[in-house]
């Protein structure tokens, strides 16, 4: 977006400068240019602010998750951190794509990889135990309590495919890189699983029932939207590369399956961009923690 808008603005400037037929500035052209220049400024400012950690939408989304001020505060804090980490991760992935591959590599792979790494790092913070008396509830918290079945199934499914790709790469002598693509996808999913376990067992003292509910929702969002989904679309992008590298062994089928996996990864990323909660801003509904 930040690249496309200035390019368009520049084109319009050129058209406006020449009046379309080289006769100088036209009024319409200047108006269009000013509007576009303002748009560019807004986009760049918005992006810069988000990178700097100002995320007004986080608290707006939290308002749609709960009516209670304390719950909202807790959720907004998590949303802000998670969204920022994903943004910085994705942005870094794109920078690496530009600097390391000179835009010849797979942007989806680098972008989703950055998001997955950013999302995982956002969940690895450590809460220091307090000194003196401590309290805790005797509640059991496990990944299974927070992870939606659909997300779990997707992770398992992609893991099985990744394993199959690695195994095929082992058998087919002319498709060795597939082993590494398959193993890498498996490693991404395994790392996400470990991070999920860490989130589920992250320390929680005996807080009020109201805050416990908000904390449970934050953990659910972190384990599903925060970790499972980025890991799945990144692993899928790796699986796509794996299928492509199997082409010498399985022919056009590798290209076909690779293309399908790549498109599915793109679809998943699109539906989960910015944690996939922006729909709450456009489709108001009853708060989750009503």
């Amino acid at each position: 977006m930040a690249v496309a808008v200035p390019t368009t603005a520049l084109s319009v400037l050129l058209v406006a400068r020449n009046g379309g037929d080289g006769s100088g500035w036209s009024v319409t052209g200047i108006v269009v240019f000013v509007v576009l220049a303002a748009l560019v400024l807004v986009v760049i400012l918005n992006f810069g602010l988000q990178l700097a950690g100002f995320d007004g939408e986080a608290s707006e989304i939290a308002e749609h998750l709960s009516n209670d001020l304390e719950q909202r505060r807790l959720l907004a804090r998590w949303l802000g951190r998670a969204r920022w980490a994903r943004l910085v991760g994705g942005f870094s992935g794109c920078l690496i794509w530009i600097l390391a591959t000179h835009t010849r590599g797979d942007l989806l792979l680098y972008g989703t990889g950055g998001i997955a790494v950013g999302a995982t790092l956002a969940e690895l913070h450590h809460i220091r135990p307090r000194r003196g008396p401590r309290t805790a509830r005797l509640d059991v918290r496990s990944v299974g309590d927070y992870l939606m079945r659909q997300d779990a199934r997707r992770m398992i499914g992609v893991g099985v495919v990744a394993f199959a790709i690695a195994a095929t790469g082992l058998v087919a002598t002319d498709a060795r890189p597939a082993i590494w693509w398959g193993l890498s996808a498996g490693a991404v999913l395994a790392a996400a699983r470990l991070a999920q376990q860490r989130v589920a067992s992250r320390p929680r003292r005996a807080i009020s029932a109201k805050l416990t509910r908000a904390d449970d929702l934050a953990r659910e969002l972190a384990i599903g939207r925060g970790l499972a989904r980025p890991a799945t679309f990144f692993a899928l992008a790796l699986v796509a590369r794996g299928f492509f590298s199997l082409t010498p062994a399985i022919g056009g089928l590798g290209e076909l399956l690779g293309g399908a996996a790549w498109l599915y990864a793109l679809y998943l990323w699109w539906h989960n961009r910015r944690l996939g909660l922006d729909f709450l801003l456009t489709e108001p509904r009853d708060p989750v923690l009503a």
Partner: protein, 123 residues
């Protein structure tokens, strides 16, 4: 079901955990079959070393208050029904300790029995 520990107390922390869980089971707050948090989770929540909770759980297992069912987790056990003889022997030992403490505190018989009744009703 809130556990509270204070590392500053003279009583070891694992004993504090053990005593509270035993009380919760005795009072019915923790029902038989209730799953308890993992050692790792409870240790993290209370900001304690894993070994401390491990020790408390071990002692509770020895007391037949809880049982660990492999990977399924740790569960509260059904309270064993003691025989009449076991009840007499166990209560006599506990009563002896109570009477010694009461005498040390200078409490008379009726005050001590009132305290027992009070605890019996509250638990």
């Amino acid at each position: 079901m809130i556990l509270s520990v204070d590392p500053g107390r003279a009583l070891p922390v694992y004993e504090q955990v053990r005593e509270q869980i035993k009380r919760m089971v005795a009072s019915g707050t923790l029902q038989a079959g209730t799953r308890l948090p993992t050692i790792r989770q409870l240790a993290a929540d209370l900001g304690l070393a894993k070994g401390t909770i491990e020790r408390a759980y071990e002692l509770l297992e020895n007391d037949t208050v809880i049982e660990t069912k492999g990977r399924k987790g740790t569960f509260v056990m059904e309270m064993a029904r003691a025989t009449k003889h076991q009840q007499t022997v166990g209560l006599a030992a506990a009563a002896e300790s109570l009477v010694v403490i009461a005498r040390q505190l200078g409490a008379d018989e009726s005050t001590t029995l009132d305290a027992v009744r009070q605890v019996w009703r509250n638990l």
